[in-house]
Symmetry: C2
Amino acid sequence: MEAKLQEFENYLKKMRALQMALTLFSWDMSTVAPRAGAPSRAPYIGLISAEQFEMLTSPVMEGYLDYVEGLGSDASEIWQAIARNLRREYDANKKIPPNLILEFSELMATAQPIWEKAKETNDYPLFAPTLEKIIGYQKRFIEARGYDGHPYNTLLDDYDQGMTVEKLDAFFSELKETVVPLLKSVVESKAQTDTSFLAPVDIATQQKLSAFLMDKVGFNSTYGILSESAHPFTTGFGKYDVRITTHYYEDKPLSSMYSVIHECGHAIYEQNISDELAGTPLENGANMSIHESQSGFYENIIGRSLPFWQNVAGEVGSILGGSYAGVSAERFYAASNTARPGMIRTEADELTYSLHIMVRYELEKEMISSDVDVSKLPGMWNDRYEEYLGIRPANDAEGILQDVHWSGGSFGYFPSYALGNAYASQIKAAMAKDLDFDALVSSGDIAGVENWLRAKIHGFGMLKTPEELIVGATGESLNAKYYTAYLKEKFEGIYGA
Amino acid sequence: MEAKLQEFENYLKKMRALQMALTLFSWDMSTVAPRAGAPSRAPYIGLISAEQFEMLTSPVMEGYLDYVEGLGSDASEIWQAIARNLRREYDANKKIPPNLILEFSELMATAQPIWEKAKETNDYPLFAPTLEKIIGYQKRFIEARGYDGHPYNTLLDDYDQGMTVEKLDAFFSELKETVVPLLKSVVESKAQTDTSFLAPVDIATQQKLSAFLMDKVGFNSTYGILSESAHPFTTGFGKYDVRITTHYYEDKPLSSMYSVIHECGHAIYEQNISDELAGTPLENGANMSIHESQSGFYENIIGRSLPFWQNVAGEVGSILGGSYAGVSAERFYAASNTARPGMIRTEADELTYSLHIMVRYELEKEMISSDVDVSKLPGMWNDRYEEYLGIRPANDAEGILQDVHWSGGSFGYFPSYALGNAYASQIKAAMAKDLDFDALVSSGDIAGVENWLRAKIHGFGMLKTPEELIVGATGESLNAKYYTAYLKEKFEGIYGA
């Protein structure tokens, strides 16, 4: 048994080496690589990617998985979890005929530039035929992989194991019932927040603020770095090298501030994974939704809370200077929680964010389940914005063309953003039974909060299933009520609604 | 024939993909990667490196090489050059028994930290046993690989094909005859250069100067970037992605200025390689010495010339401001050519640089050829510094421990620095027959110079042998007389010696 597992471990290390190289190429491309060099690098990235895919889907891999599964409970908990996770990946990729994967990757090589051009020129019909093809491939993938209940379930499951249309319909319906009227009362409230002090801040000063915030929320800079990229993200090479990025806008200092805290949430999760999982395929967050729950927890539950501002208002004011100097915690708190319906998801506030997601969820469900006429999608999009947010996009560039996901072939991904926030609220409620969150955060003892998260969530990496994890941490499965209650309490408080 | 060559091409592309990944890991490590993450990344880099080495030394590779060599002149010029270069690499690596390579790489994993500590604490005896082992492996490598004439020739040939102890002894002896008395007269001259205006400059301003210089000398920023690292270097991913670094010291603005121009010389060489070689193993400089000749050409022949300063003095003065504003071309020229004996190679001026190299060359020759007593090496080092530069290191940290090369297992590498400068002078002399260098450079038309270099040197990549290249460009093999004449004329001019 030992020899065979040792062999498998070596095989996995080789796969991981290739994966690290791919991650590094991607990091490099998003941060410093000369853009014009991309076409000449692409074939080499393709070759490494092909080798990694070949290792993941080879009969050798299947043999190892069969072996570990055959050991049953004789295998260690770690090996069982490795096999469980790799089997999911193996199945997801193996069941799709290779020629379909090849065709799709050829389509993907051209889709993004077409989308970029369509967005730039506000020309949805330019992108529509490509979108139609991409949807067609999604359906064929689902057909090949099989599905339980709704075909969309197969894609949802990729990002959040066990998630289904049935559960999500209920989730969003509960959310809609609370958030749509809440937003209406916020918009109509006479108690609008005071944002008059939010003047532009030069980038060097914002960089100082980033360093302060990273330190404040507990990012471990010995084992990680901050860089800049067009869109903020987190990536990593195991827990000892976790990297985050931000993007600075002179006229929107809070934008970078909260994207730094958000990415710190992702990063701290990875940095806190237990040492015994280091170097294994379990050295990752449990899934997309749980990962978003941790970034959301840091960004919103901590970073947009009054106790946090009570702790940092003075220092933030003195770092930013000018109109920010001496601003009270209460004013910072209100300004950073300004809720307004807007067209663009990535600029949305905490209250409206999940409504943006709901629109995309409903459209994806439609695309996957019926023979949707792609020319009708912009109208469907705009109608829903009007219904949920009370505003209607003036054009498709600020409407259906705004997100990169579909042109990148990502379907089923969007819901994890909303689910992440819901998980975060539920985790906060469970945490509140064990510790005094407000007292810890207002005194700057965020490590006290982090310790709870490490013990209940972070440390496990991919060792537990997401369901085991959330039940273990909170005593129950995902329940939207914590999220709706949290939003109601917070925004009614701020807007006196 | 076509099918077999296509197969070989695919094989080479795969090897190149792995090499690119390794290059990227190394770039990343030297620029942004968190240092503390290195141990956890190392095994993965090792695995990719092992796969690349396996492909280079496999029987499959040998089969391909035999095949192309068997085609003789039926193979294209490009395929012949690929086979010639890969055969060199194959032989160099294949003849060494794998267990020796493994033992050596284990030694290498510990050698650098030991050297670092020894340098830091000025404790040569701490490093001596490791150095002795490293020398022992070099000898066993040479034994395994075989040699013509002097055993050191095998190592010299790695960095400059065809280079021998016989040729280098003659080269350095001619250099010594000229430079040692020249330096003496420079030191004793009453006409010392005026460096009084060289005040510290903040790093943001130095970054602006870098951008100006890169543009001025013709670095193509569409296909390249500048970053920062502890020691400046150039690396690349083919001609469409060439990266340089610099290191800024507030109190030494000329240091970064000349390292940027130096690295631009390396980079422009790579950027100018002919398109037909892109993606092949020939998309590289001809060898280390030729590469150093191009960086040296840009740094010294162009950058430290009076015509260059005549073109840029005004702009450099206004970018740097303060005491630099309004400094004349002649004062900049003299200050940037200040010659003084010093202990540290990397801080040496153009006149003394090759003397530093000569010391290392003579010591390496000694280490490789005889049963040298490592405890005697510091004394040998210090005696030579006294003889050639007229100064004696106060301790081993500023003496024999100063360079990283030996602890990294690099022997035979040092001479290419001096040879590069000698090639550069010879190239300049040949170029002067075709164009008016001073007129072009003083008018800012460095593209005129670059065009000549592209046509005679850069475009060929590794297609020609270094010997073919230098004879093709200058009409003769390496001849030290151009270098000594250049140094004499320049420094006698400045120091009125």
